[in-house]
Amino acid sequence: MTAPAYPHRHLLGIEPLEASHITAVLDTAEALREVLDRPIKKVPALRGKTVVNLFYEASTRTRASFEIAEKVLSADSLSIATSTSSVQKGETLLDTAKNLEAMNPDMIVLRHSASGAAHFLARHCRSAIVNAGDGAHEHPTQALLDALTLRQRKGRLEGLRVAIVGDVLHSRVARSNVWLLTKMGARVILCAPPTLMPPGIETLAPTTYRIDEAVEGADAIMMLRIQQERMTGGYFPTLREYHARFGLTEERVRLAKKDVLILHPGPMNRGVEIASEVADGPYSVILDQVTNGVAVRMAVLYLLLGGAEAA
């Protein structure tokens, strides 16, 4: 028996993956995308599997696309938003997870505000764990769907020059993307105001405080959301000033390659990190990202739950 293309039991982050595992997820997503265009958008692959979506933080895209992916693959799923659950009564993450596990699910998809929450569950639970975002650490399915979008449009990842611009400090999307893109041979440059650039990040990728320098000659620009809900201090004077210094405007897009792609993980703050005419402009692949999000999550579900129990 040949070695499985994706030899892990969980998806906790991009950092522990090898390039071949990432390629396996992207190829599987590519093969599964077609299912979404069928007259009957459902295949029986994961019949009888149960998936719990446990979301400790607000989410529209990620949760909706996990739910759609689960339904298309015929898994039974339930979503728990902590705002309406016993978490409000003070139950801990581990107790909640253990109680859900007593009902025998096959997978838990977890979003949590604490970095490492998914790793913690993976150590204590029997189910397969998928990290749907843990604090400022990783958001692996977002990086995978970004990579799928880039690969579809550019035909490759290797050698692409990608600028990641915005609130790097609070961004799990930035971390997952830096790991993924570097493993796949792309050249990444990070750009943020000094206050939003985490110390030590330059060991992962080159950094700059000037957006013009970051986007010059770029094949793709990934904009990051200003995460005001995570900001405890004053990181910049005003949103207007942030937009003037670090917002992606049409003028700045012109510094990039002619066929540049603009990505944003959503939700967007229009007029802050990205100008509306850029978000809705011809280079924007923001809605492609959302469609690809469903395909990538289907691939992750299939790779973790399809086939016999992984090692």
Binding site: M1, T2, A3, P4, A5, Y6, P7, A24, D27, T28, E30, A31, L32, E34, V35, R38, P39, I40, K42, V43, P44, A45, G48, K49, L73, Y302, L303, L305, G306, G307, A308, A310
Partner: protein, 219 residues
Amino acid sequence: MAPPAPFRERQELMDADRLSRTLSRMAHEILERHPDIRGTVLVGVRTRGVPLARRLAARMKEASGFEPPVGALDITLYRDDLTTVGPQPVLKGTDIPTSIDGRTVVLVDDVLFTGRTVRAALDELIDFGRPARIELAVLVDRGHRELPIHADYAGRTLTTTREETVQVRLKEEDGDDRVLLLERTPGPAPRTRAAAPGKARSPARARKRTPPRARRPRR
């Protein structure tokens, strides 16, 4: 693809020449039954059903002037043993290029064995529409059906045992055109019957061949 390690060649069932003539005959049989070929779609079951379907379509064009559309079906997501086969099988994707509503679909596969692949393929096809009818064309029918399924067109029908396996090699996938009967070598790694739906993984041993499309009494 090399034969799985514990198998050795027992007999060559078809060489390239014979395989080519068999496909020509099958193409003519399909045309004979469907003179109005424009309402027909060929759908190959991945992997080797797809090149076989393409070759049949090309021969049908030679004979009738019209090349029927060819689709590809990856039945992995419909397997009845998906959660027991071992690591996740690699997905290659389904591609049905045209509407199948009201048309005749000829499913094409290399080896018909338990019939489980065909069951999965039927389920998947029906999620794409409502064909007027579905027929089945296989290069080799080796018996051992576990479901009430039969081939409408068979290149060759033979009786095998479960200790044997039939390997179809095609230029597009394997570099040469041959059909081989393999048998399990008495080795250190006895395998229980692999539950792959369909074909070639299972052991068996041939006795004699019966004429093409002959019905064998079952049980």
